[in-house]
């Protein structure tokens, strides 16, 4: 406990020192604010543009959440098919790698062309980009069940559905959460990237990505910084939420989710 307090104090101290240094550099070298606004200016921008920031934050959060939820539902469904049908897995699994490697900036304009600007397109982009880790991890979790456990179920005349829902699916939950953790970060990036292209159907109102584009075109660098801050908060918030859910569902029985007691 004491150790943790020291680590926290250190982190806060270093952050404060960096902020002071940043403020001093801007003052001493007279850096123009459109190049690098000092921390106090960023803080002022946050205060003044709070409604805009909150609105953008909410829009992007909704898109990322929607995309992630969709990729969990679809990803687990695909993983179930992959786990049950080996030939489908062999044939289609490489395509999940394609899904993972295709640059999202390259397909974003296509999505925009097909589905128009606005939230649905951005959600779709967040979904596409976060799908691969869910499929890969869940499939691995579903097929890596101890063979003796399968035998145990067979000896008690378990149906194929019982083997999936009472054995494979619960066994895959820790792996699914690893996938979700990776996907949650990517979904936020996907949503912001998506907004750069398909940002908004209403002028001046959009998510973080759209607002970043808007602020930079207006040379409102202080607002730009505030938006970057908001995007970071969103990414962290997402990660913490997922980690909390992981802990909530797994702490009773799974090693990975146990609170560190010795540290």
């Amino acid at each position: 406990m004491k150790k943790r307090a020291i680590v926290l104090a250190n982190a806060l101290g270093v952050s404060a020192a960096l902020l002071v240094l940043w403020q001093l550099v801007v003052w001493i070298f007279k850096v123009p604010p459109y190049m690098l606004p000092p921390p106090l200016a960023v803080e002022k921008a946050v205060r003044l543009k709070l409604p805009l920031l909150l609105n953008a934050f909410e829009i992007t959060a909704e898109e990322a959440t929607g995309g992630l939820a969709l990729s969990v539902i679809v990803g687990v469904g695909i993983a179930l098919i992959f786990a049950q049908l080996r030939w489908v897995r062999r044939t289609l699994y490489p395509w999940t790698l394609v899904l993972q490697t295709v640059p999202i900036v390259a397909i974003a304009p296509l999505i925009l062309m097909w589905f128009g600007a606005g939230t649905p397109s951005v959600t779709l982009i967040a979904f596409i980009i976060s799908l691969a880790p869910i499929i890969a991890n869940t499939t691995q979790g579903l097929i890596s069940v101890d063979q003796n456990l399968v035998h145990l179920f067979l000896i008690h005349n378990a149906s194929p559905a019982q083997i999936v829902f009472k054995l494979r699916l619960p066994h895959s939950v820790p792996a699914l959460f690893v996938g979700i953790r990776i996907a949650s970060g990517i979904a936020v990036i996907g949503a912001i990237t998506g907004e750069l292209y398909a940002g908004s159907s209403r002028v001046g109102q959009g998510g973080l990505g759209y607002s970043i584009l808007y602020a930079s075109s207006q040379l409102q660098t202080d607002l730009l910084f505030a938006l970057v801050l908001a995007a970071t908060v969103l990414g962290f918030g997402f990660l913490f939420l997922v980690m909390f859910l992981e802990w909530y569902f797994l702490h009773n029985w799974h090693e990975s989710a146990r609170a560190p007691d010795a540290e």
Partner: protein, 257 residues
């Protein structure tokens, strides 16, 4: 014991087994296990001990010959059979009680009945207090007891055990051996047990089948003429030592034959 009119609980007639195109694992096994017997299969690695258990439980079909459980094909006799693996094979996301009830659950037994039965069995194996714990909170020996309780929950008439205590330390193993015999005296199942330990085989069995490897075949059958009620003291009697020595000698012969 094996009167001519009594039908065997388990019957192997000229059973051979190979997986795919691999060499034979088992060759012309003839084996009859009668109701109430405790038969232990012992032999060096590669003699197909585990395969015999898989054939009895219908997890794999024989390549030649016939296997019958109480006159039925193994696949149709599964309701009479339970299996205890070398690992406790508990589901980590279920509590101890939910694990014990697994077999009953898969067979469609109602929840009330299941919980009643699981609680009774946990008492029987001395784990009444940890019913709501998760497997990771238990020691290796306790996990194995849960595994035994789960196997007994479905009221099996045949209990198959594949080196169930191999991963435990000797003290825990001896204690569980004694408990196993106590449970058998109460519940009267027929057992087929696989082990590497001669002492364990002698302590538990009514009959020991020594298998030879490559391909697996029956090399000797040693009846264990010890009193039916056995306690820890039995291990330090001369009769016990004599049997252990005899089985060990047969086992060495099996290796060199």
């Amino acid at each position: 014991m094996s009167s001519a009119v009594e039908a065997p609980m388990i019957e192997f007639a000229a059973v051979s087994k190979r997986y795919g195109n691999a060499p034979l694992v088992l060759e012309s096994i003839d084996l009859r296990v009668f109701k109430g017997e405790f038969v232990t299969l012992i032999g060096p690695s590669g003699c197909g001990k585990s395969t015999v258990l898989k054939l009895i439980s219908g997890l794999t079909p024989p390549s030649g010959g016939t296997v019958r459980i109480d006159g039925m094909l193994p696949k149709n006799a599964r309701e009479t059979v339970s299996y205890i693996f070398q690992d406790a094979t508990l589901l980590p996301w279920r509590t101890v009680r939910q694990n014990v009830g697994l077999g009953l659950e898969l067979e469609g037994v109602s929840k009330d009945r299941r919980e009643q039965k699981s609680a009774a069995l946990l008492e029987l194996v001395g784990l009444g207090e940890v019913a709501k714990a998760y497997p990771r909170q238990l020691s290796g020996g306790m996990k194995m007891r849960v595994s035994i309780a789960r196997a007994l929950a479905t009221n099996p008439r045949v209990l198959l055990m594949d080196e169930p205590f191999a991963a435990l330390d000797e003290m825990a193993r001896d204690r569980l051996n004694e408990e196993l015999l106590r449970l058998r005296a109460e519940q009267k199942w027929t057992a087929v047990f696989v082990t590497h330990s001669v002492a364990e085989a002698v302590f538990l069995s009514t009959r020991i089948v020594v298998l030879a490897p490559n391909p697996g075949r029956v090399c000797a059958v040693v009846p264990v003429e010890l009193p039916p009620t056995r306690t820890a003291e039995l291990r330090s009697t001369p009769a016990f030592d004599v049997l252990v020595a005899r089985v060990s000698r047969t086992l060495r012969e099996a290796l060199t034959s």
